[in-house]
Amino acid sequence: MFAPTSLNARNRRTQKLVKLLFLLMTLLLVLPVLMILGVLVARGGPMLSVEFLLTQPTKGMTAGGIFPALIGTVWLVAVALLVSVPVGVAAAVYLSEYAPENWLTRTINLAIINLAGVPSIVHALFGVGAFVLFFGFGTSILAASLTLAIMTLPVVIVATREALQAVPKAFREACWNMGATRWQTIRRVVLPNSISGILTGIILEVSRTAGETAPIMFTGAAFFLPFLPQSVFDQTMAMSLHLFVISTQVPGVPEGLPYGVALVLVLMVLAMNALSIGFRMWLRGRKKW
């Protein structure tokens, strides 16, 4: 009664083919990443050792370890977070809990999209003009971290806003009905229920900040420094710039060394991302509403 006609059969064949084609395109997109990771691990893996992580570069950066660059990246990320987290969370709280539907809110949203879309080198120019020269911080961790903070602000804002908006409206209404002020509601009900989502966003921002190169090139990161930074007004080495320098600017670098640096950088960034993704999945499984 329901024997497939030739048309049915042809349609099914086409459908299978189309599905296969799209699967193939998707795989071609993600396979290169896996291949790149494979090459980095194969060529950079032998470089990795505790000594590599914990010693200074030597012989004009053609040998030795990456300790100052590693510590420098930690400094840059930490100072950047001190600025971007409070500002970003405040912005997200405003947009999610207070902002009315008007031209100002639309302008803020447009500004956020643009902060994320402006080329990183333009952020670098801004950092030079504003923090290095105008505010007189010189090339320092402070200037570089402020530049990074402004550049990655959209990551915090967008993630936090999403986390806040995932808290059901009824939670807030119940709290208001008890006579709580807006801020009491946010602090006691909205933030505790979204804190894990906000953390996920912050981890993601750490990953973004650690990998950026252009914004710190002229604002605070140095090619080579034989000592560790002592305050936010010192310059510092950084992992990302170190990879750029030893792979393009320094002659006679042994082939394995940049692979080792690239591998450490990628592992750092991917570990943060994996943490963030894992955290998000765990949250989704735990959610009670």
Partner: protein, 310 residues
């Protein structure tokens, strides 16, 4: 303040200007400042780069030389010239090739993830796309330099592997995740009722996708492509390292080129603050800012356009 201390009169009881009220107002102001900071920063970026570049624009800039000639010789002692046409061509060729690589694959991936994949497969693919987006641009540049470069020399028998092809492929892979994510959002935003109606009329899955879902999502897809273009246009480190960084009007994908962003990144460190060359680099920055601003604005308007119709 304990409730007993408050005035008892009925209208005054509703008027609770206690500590909690004051804190509430202060916080409201603080978060408002946080919200507006994004606008302040974007204006600040424009003001500060213009402040540094203005000296060049008023004293030296000849738009016909700047945009119309290919001679970028800022360090010439006799007669420095500032023509960015070749740099624009470099950026355009690399971004163009990147889009040829990235658009079909990321739209294909978005369609697969949104329309075909389910459950674990879907989750895994989304995570992989996210990880693809996480790789820092300097690492992509390094990949172009040390993996793609010898590969292109071997495969195509050319003397140099740092060229439009190399940078274009790298940039395509970098722009693909953001395009895939936004395109997937656009496809997900198409109401299931559309799909159900088409399937009820006997359409197969791929007919539903091509005749119903894609047309309905076309604005979101256009915005995805536009944002990918913006990403490619503004990418700095990867292009600097993979494109060969030599001034050329490219005639084939095997020519080395130099991008606008890469020029600023490579030369700013070597210029004296306040010199003509330094201000010229900031002028390129202003141009980059304006173009990306326009791209983002257009993409935003397109996305908003689809939103209002539903």
């Amino acid at each position: 303040m304990p409730a007993a201390d408050r005035p008892r009169a009925a209208p005054a009881a509703l008027d609770r200007r206690d500590l909690a009220w004051v804190v509430d107002k202060v916080v409201e102001i603080l978060v408002f400042v946080g919200g507006v900071s994004a606008i302040v920063f974007i204006i600040g970026i424009f003001v500060f780069i213009t402040g540094q570049g203005l000296g060049f624009i008023t004293a030296r800039l000849d738009p016909r030389e700047f945009f119309g000639t290919t001679a970028w010789r800022p360090t010439s002692e006799v007669h420095p010239t500032y023509g960015i046409l070749a740099l624009i061509a470099g950026t355009a060729s690399v971004t163009g090739l990147a889009m040829i690589v990235a658009v079909p694959f990321s739209l294909g991936a978005a369609i697969f993830i949104a329309e075909f994949a389910t459950g674990k497969v879907r989750e895994t693919l989304k995570v992989l796309v996210e990880l693809l987006a996480a790789i820092p641009s300097v690492v992509w540049g390094f990949v172009g330099l040390s993996i793609m470069n010898p590969l292109i020399i071997d495969l195509f028998d050319v003397p140099v592997g740092l060229n439009v092809l190399n940078a274009g492929i790298i940039l395509g892979l970098m722009a693909a995740p953001i395009m895939t994510t936004i395109a997937e959002d656009a496809l997900k935003a198409v109401q299931d009722g559309y799909r159900e109606a088409a399937e009820a009329l006997g359409a197969t899955r791929w007919q539903v996708i091509f005749k119903v879902v894609l047309p309905a999502a076309k604005n979101g897809l256009a915005a995805a492509i536009l944002l990918g273009v913006g990403r490619g246009f503004g990418e700095t480190m990867a292009v600097l390292m993979a494109s060969g960084h030599s001034i050329n009007l490219p005639t084939s994908v095997f020519d080395s080129v130099r991008a606008l962003t890469a020029t600023v990144a490579a030369e700013l460190g070597e210029t004296a603050v306040g010199s003509e060359h330094y201000r010229a680099l900031f002028t390129i920055g202003i141009f980059l800012f304006m173009v990306t601003f326009l791209i983002n604005l257009t993409a935003d308007l397109i996305i908003r356009g689809t939103g209002s119709k539903r």
